[in-house]
């Protein structure tokens, strides 16, 4: 069929060398080759947002990104953002507001929320809704999710120097 391609990238700060088939998407690469299963696959066609990861600082749908496109890139997943502590306050707000039920959408929600909060310090609820428009929560916990993000934004402003 086709021949694996060598790629070299950083995932959550660690150097990774791998051989991947050209057709392998980034979500399957992360989940199956690196066992980073916090990145979820819900729809496999870029609609649900459960597979959201960060590539070179921007959030992307890892199900619509090929692993070979991540060659020489820096990829960050929910595991990386959790371990670095970057979103510890956001996660605490999600917990306090009970902003997850089954939790399957949650890693993608957190990735998208942090992306917004990095670029806007006090987004309106409408802005939060817009930014999360590509992330589905089928348990329909949106109100609590937006509450948690709004709370985090306010708390971060309070902590800003």
């Amino acid at each position: 069929m086709t021949i694996p391609v060598a790629i070299s990238l950083h995932v959550n700060g660690e150097a990774v060398e791998a051989r991947v088939l050209p057709r392998l998407n980034l979500a399957d690469f992360l989940r199956e080759q690196l066992q980073l299963t916090g990145t979820h696959v819900g729809c496999e066609h870029g609609v649900c947002g459960a597979c959201t990861v960060r590539v070179n600082g921007d959030i992307v749908r890892s199900c619509l990104t090929l692993a070979v496109q991540a060659d020489r890139a820096s990829v960050e997943t929910i595991e990386g953002l959790s371990d670095s502590g970057e979103i510890a306050d956001l996660q605490a707000a999600f917990r306090d507001r009970n902003a997850l039920q089954c939790g399957f959408c949650t890693p993608g929600m957190l990735m998208a929320a942090q992306d917004l909060l990095k670029s806007e310090s006090s987004p309106s609820r409408q802005r939060i809704r817009e930014h999360l428009a590509g992330n589905y929560c089928r348990c329909t916990g949106y109100q609590a999710i937006i509450d948690a993000i709004e709370t985090t934004a306010r708390a971060r402003i309070g902590r800003a120097p």
Binding site: R31, G42, S82, Y136
Partner: protein, 502 residues
Amino acid sequence: MSPAPDGLSLLDRPNSYIGKVVPRPNLERLMQGRGLYVSDMELPRMAHVVFLRSPHAHANIVAIDAAAARGIPGVIAVVTGRELAMVITPWVGVLSHLKGLKSAPQHAIAIDHVCWQGEAVAAVVATSRAVAEDAAEIVSVEYRELEPVTDMRTALDPETPVIHPSLGDNLAFERQLDVGAVDQAFADSDAVVEAEFVFGRHTGVTLEPRAVVADWNVAETRLTIYQGTQAPHMVQNIAALHLGLQDSQVRVVCKDVGGSFGIKVHVYADEMATYALSKLLRRPIKFVADRVESFNTDIHARDHRCKGRIGVKRDGTITAFEIDDLTGIGPYSMYPRTSAIEANQIVNLVGGAYLTKNYRARARVVFQNKNVMCQYRGVGHPIACSVTEGLVDLAASRIGMDPVEIRRRNLVPDDGYPCASPAGLKFELLSHHAAINKLMSMMDYDALRAEQAALRRSNIHRGIGIASFIEITNPSAAFYGVGGARISSQDGVAVRSMRPAR
């Protein structure tokens, strides 16, 4: 609720969860991407199954040629329905308390006859899902198309083909109820209003699709099933029953589940096939539905055409309800809870909140060549509530009465309990009038109506909807167990206490 002498109500008792924040120990792992959903699982020697599915709604399978697919590196097996039937028996989705319900034997993988677009005709097992999908593309299946039964309204017509000839017709289930003096009540009414209510198919769309890993250990003769399911004891019982095992040989492990909503409370043919494939191939087999498979094979629900009739007096007294409900459930009654429960519930629930005892209902459940239907979240309630409340609104409109007022005049009074509905459901301590009074004050109903009228003059049409509703809770074994479905188990725990080593 009046306080007890010590100032505490029932809700303040020490173990009450009401009003308390309950810690959820699973949140941390779910938020950190460290949950374990079945779709995340990998076991040593695990293989992946992809189901080749019928593109036709109704057809005979003439031949399956999988020789080329078997030659692809990484392909472990291509298994047809007939081959799989050597390790798993078919099932019939009926329960004894639904008198007259019939269905045909359903196989884990279709044998000779496919009945809906999406029914599995072969299983392709390979070392990766991608390889299995490649191989599935080159399995050649020759079909002879049959006329599909699609419209529930003509499913029972003599000229419509019968999907399962052994059943004689396409009628799965019929229930009739006639309580009180319905004809007399309509004759005595000042107005009789009729309407037909049409509901399209719904489905639950869990964000994590259905997923199962089945691990048959032939040396220990034990099957371990990891499944995103709402009913692990049911899965254990049914897998054992159809694989020829004792319940004690089957262990079902339910880890994190990415949404269920009633979609994952059933046993699906492709899941049964996955258990059987593990037994046949003596290794762990993983099946995860993709999104298209979810839409094509997760149960659908609520496809009904319901004709309704209501009689009313000029003073607002509702004299009678009558419904004639028709629902198409696909080609098989689902296993083990059956596909007749939804229609049965609609018969049970229509008119339930109101005083009239005059009620006639007919529900017919018919087979058709579409994906299977069954019940999920709020079984039958949305249909029954929409039909009942739609009729009450139409009656109010016909006699020129406010929709809230007609409900006040007909809802069972708050001191009228215990009582039974015309269909025989027993109600205790409901409070429709207290609820409606509270709602009216919360929404400031009169002000909203005035605003609505004012806006209408400037051509703004604002709707205000009112519905009364009884949700049946905690039916216990009455729904399924009484009819023979072994769905739950006695909870039990073994506790062992040890001192930490020093």
